[in-house]
């Protein structure tokens, strides 16, 4: 339909309103962020909050800069990133294999079910001191702590996703003379991908939580170590800077998984 400068077709008006709404939401988010920063800074400057305890955006910025220059901040960030990514990948892999075993053995799944439920509901931070005793301090312990937070929930989620696949689809594979391996690779796994990806979204955050708990207790490097060290020596600017960096990392991880999810949906039309 012909477009005029002052009259729009229904479709054009819908598209314009859609993008206008998205721009409005993005602008409102940025404004809110700016307003909170401003409120924080002004409150600190006017003495409404004690900047020694609550810091301020300017102090965080200065701290960030000085940590970059003199305290190997990039190394601390890199270590936390590495530990989190390794924990995440191991959680996904170690969650997948038992879930497949449980899927193919009804007896095994019935035996394992109460153990998985109990282990999943256990507060994992309670295990971290034990890991230090068993494994010593260092990256190995931190990665195990990161894995422990998410592994049991992952096994349960994956197994549940596999079990929810339409039995008629599995029957179809049987009628075509397919094996259990065919059923898994050609139906169960692709059909479960949306749940596997949503579990991955949760796990990346949980791995970060586990790694930070591990770094609190058993590290000499990493953002968790910086937070604990900063608290011990009352450098709260350092603590708040590390927390803000953690927020940025969590956001970046989430965006990465969103991108993977988008690509998977496009490829598999899920």
């Amino acid at each position: 339909m012909k477009k005029h400068s002052d009259t729009l077709t229904g479709q054009e008006a819908y598209v314009r309103d859609h993008y206008r709404h998205h721009r409005l939401v993005a602008a409102a988010r940025l404004l809110l962020f700016g307003a909170l920063l401003l409120l924080w800074e002004v409150s600190a400057d006017l003495g409404l909050i004690d900047s020694f305890f609550f810091s301020s955006p300017v102090r965080v910025g200065k701290c960030f800069y000085s940590q970059l220059l003199y305290n190997d901040l990039c190394l601390h960030i890199g270590i936390t990133l590495l530990e989190t990514i390794l924990s995440f990948l191991l959680v996904m892999l170690l969650g997948l294999l038992p879930a497949i075993a449980l899927l193919f053995s009804k007896t095994l799944s019935e035996i394992a079910e109460p153990y998985l439920v109990i282990l999943n509901s256990l507060p994992k931070s309670a295990l971290a001191p034990l890991f230090i005793v068993w494994l010593g301090t260092g990256m190995k312990t931190i990665i195990v702590a990161g894995i422990s937070v998410a592994i049991f929930g992952t096994i349960i989620s994956f197994y549940t996703a596999f079990r929810q696949v339409d039995s008629d689809k599995l029957m179809l594979i049987a009628t075509l003379g397919g094996t259990r391996r065919d059923a898994f690779l050609r139906v169960i796994f692709p059909a479960s991908l949306p749940i596997l990806i949503s579990t991955a979204k949760v796990n990346i955050g949980l791995s970060l939580v586990g790694v930070i708990i591990g770094e609190f207790l058993a590290a000499r490097r990493g953002l968790g170590y910086l937070i604990i060290y900063g608290t011990q020596v009352f450098q709260l600017d350092m603590v708040i800077t590390a927390i803000i960096i953690l927020c940025v990392i969590a956001f970046c991880f989430y965006q990465l998984i969103q991108r993977i999810e988008h690509n998977c949906k496009k490829k598999y039309t899920l």
């Binding site: 339409d166 008629d168 689809k169 029957m171 179809l172 594979i173 049987a174 009628t175 075509l176 003379g177 397919g178 094996t179 065919d182 050609r186 139906v187 692709p190 059909a191 991908l193 490829k267 598999y268 039309t269 899920l270």
Partner: protein, 257 residues
């Protein structure tokens, strides 16, 4: 015509802690090569169980299923099974869907590829081979499901209410279309249906099952004088109404028992 399938005194039971449920009892019948057989019966009488036993998905407790030219050691199933829904996988293209069985058996030879290409052309799906199932109409999806079943070149096709998910008009067209395709492919077919009209229109023989435990209540041969090739022609045949009334009476007696 030679005998393709023979069921002799077939019985099957389901077991649970609450007890045993006899689903099929002493079922015997034969199916000739190239014959179309419809199975009708009261809801829940065991029609799908019977098809599963014939397909080899369930093992009968008593009796036997003999399929001519069948070898226990053969790798490919000699029986094709079309389920109630098309179950085309949305994450695969139509081509990947129809070649699923061949892929699983690592049989994507040039001859098989040529056979699939021919079926896609004949069934009007050639232009849709790279599309996803959601982009096809209900009838086209059923055709794709049929190609997937025919790809392994089974001698017997089992259809479990394959048109029940379609609206009435589409169902009439698709049922007629699919049955003609199967006849032209020279295959033998056993179809389960709740639609008595569909059973009379498509089949050469109708097997009426009793209520659970299913036994063969009656076997009714069908022979229609067709005036033309249209989907409605069987329903306009003079033999249609008497056959419908006969089926209705047998099933009503079964329901009332």
């Amino acid at each position: 015509m030679s005998k393709l399938l023979e069921l002799s005194n077939l019985s099957y039971s389901y077991h649970s802690l609450q007890g045993e449920t006899l689903a099929l009892k002493d079922i015997s019948f034969t199916v000739e090569e190239g014959e179309f057989v419809a199975i009708v019966g009261p809801s829940g009488c065991g029609k799908t169980t019977l098809l599963s036993v014939i397909a080899g998905l369930l093992t009968p407790e008593e009796g036997s299923v003999r399929l001519a030219n069948s070898d226990d050691k053969q790798e490919l199933p000699n029986i094709g099974y079309m389920l109630q829904k098309d179950h085309l996988f949305e994450w695969l293209s139509i081509y990947k869907n129809v070649t699923l069985g061949l892929e699983m058996h690592h049989l994507m030879t040039p001859e098989k590829k040529a056979y699939i290409d021919r079926l896609l052309r004949e069934y009007g799906l050639d232009a849709f081979r790279e599309k996803r199932p959601s982009e096809l109409s209900g009838g086209m999806k059923q055709r794709a499901a049929l190609i997937r079943t025919l790809a392994l070149e089974p001698s017997l096709l089992l259809l479990d209410e394959p048109f029940s998910a379609l609206d009435f008009q589409t169902r009439l067209m698709v049922a007629d279309d699919i049955s003609k395709l199967i006849r032209s492919a020279g295959k033998t077919m056993i179809i389960i249906t709740h639609d008595l009209g569909e059973a009379i229109s498509l089949a050469d023989k109708i097997i009426v099952l009793s209520k659970r435990p299913a036994t063969v209540a009656r076997i009714i041969p069908v022979s229609l004088s067709l005036e033309d090739d249209s989907p409605l022609a069987p329903r306009n045949a003079p033999e249609y109404q008497p056959l419908f009334n006969e089926l209705w009476e047998v099933l009503s007696n079964e329901e009332a028992l």
